[in-house]
Symmetry: C2
Subunit: 189 residues, 2 copies
């Protein structure tokens, strides 16, 4: 998506270790009109997959998942990383490594809001190794539901995430696909 790529080129900062800082429009400050445009684009791309629910992971996935949900008119569930006291004792929980945190994090969904028989569209901010998204896939499958599509704002193609998701046989779309990332330049596919 041209607008997202241009914004990454203008404001994205490479911090080393494969980390792209996009705090000025996605991860700390959010540009709501850009995010709305991304949600509209996801709605267009996944309009035909028959999704009944959108699933994301707190925190940074919430914004793009919500705007996609607005445009598709579907409920969105965000997996929690700590279990709030409002959740029942029995939950679906999986572990996923966090690249930016350098440790494993929990992904928790309540059976109240992810049951069986749902067709789940997963939306997140980044596709890197695919570890977080595979965690969301496991939660979906454990709940007895099916993943029907995966969308991310930014993909770092050189971290292998797309390959790790291939076996699912569902459409995977990223709105900006970075094939090269270093101090000097950001190159899109």
């Amino acid at each position: 998506m041209e607008a997202l790529e241009q914004r990454i080129l203008k404001e994205g900062q490479y911090l080393g270790n494969g980390i792209l800082k996009v705090d000025s429009f996605i991860n700390h400050q959010v540009d709501p009109l850009l995010m709305d445009a991304c949600g509209r684009e996801f709605a267009r791309l996944f309009g035909g997959v028959g999704a009944t629910k959108i699933l994301t992971a707190e925190i940074s996935g919430i914004a793009p998942a919500l705007t996609t949900a607005i445009h598709l008119g579907l409920p969105v569930v965000y997996a929690r990383k700590t279990k709030p006291i409002t959740m029942p004792d029995q939950v679906y929980l999986t572990l996923a490594p966090s690249h930016t945190k350098g440790r494993m994090v929990e992904l928790i969904v309540s059976p109240e809001h992810l049951g069986g028989g749902e067709k789940v569209l997963i939306i997140d901010d980044f596709l890197a190794t695919g570890a977080t998204i595979l965690g969301l896939v496991r939660l979906t499958q454990t709940a007895g539901s099916t993943v029907v599509g995966i969308g991310t704002l930014i993909e770092k193609t050189f971290e292998g995430g797309r390959r790790a998701l291939e076996h699912l046989g569902v459409p995977v779309f990223s709105l900006a696909r970075i094939v090269e990332l270093n101090e000097e330049k950001i190159v899109f596919a």
Copy 2:
């Protein structure tokens, strides 16, 4: 707001200790169309306060703050509760007690995205004691900016938050004001 009140009556669950569970449409699963309607209502209520930026706290504040930001066309910043590695070493940090977590949590904003001279509209999910919102007020003032309005989805009037915010002399709007909450009933103002 009628639609929000009706939804609270239909799906809100009182868990004791003043805690209202609204996990099916705000805090874990989000109803995007209701949230969009709430954002539109905040935009109408705060259209005249001259805000230049919206500030909220992760995680549950993100959805209503984002939809308000879409309707006002303003950037939104969400205060982080843990400092991500993408943030600079020098940040604005304050502590606020979390009712649902039973401990103090950090609220952190990067000076890159909350500088001086901004007119800040604070949006959050709940107004209870006002402790989280007062934390966001302190961050705003420390950054050299001014709070021009405060909006929350749900206010529990009996916890005193509105009184705690009075000295700021800015408009405070809540879309659903609960005056009585117990096992038997939820009563709106």
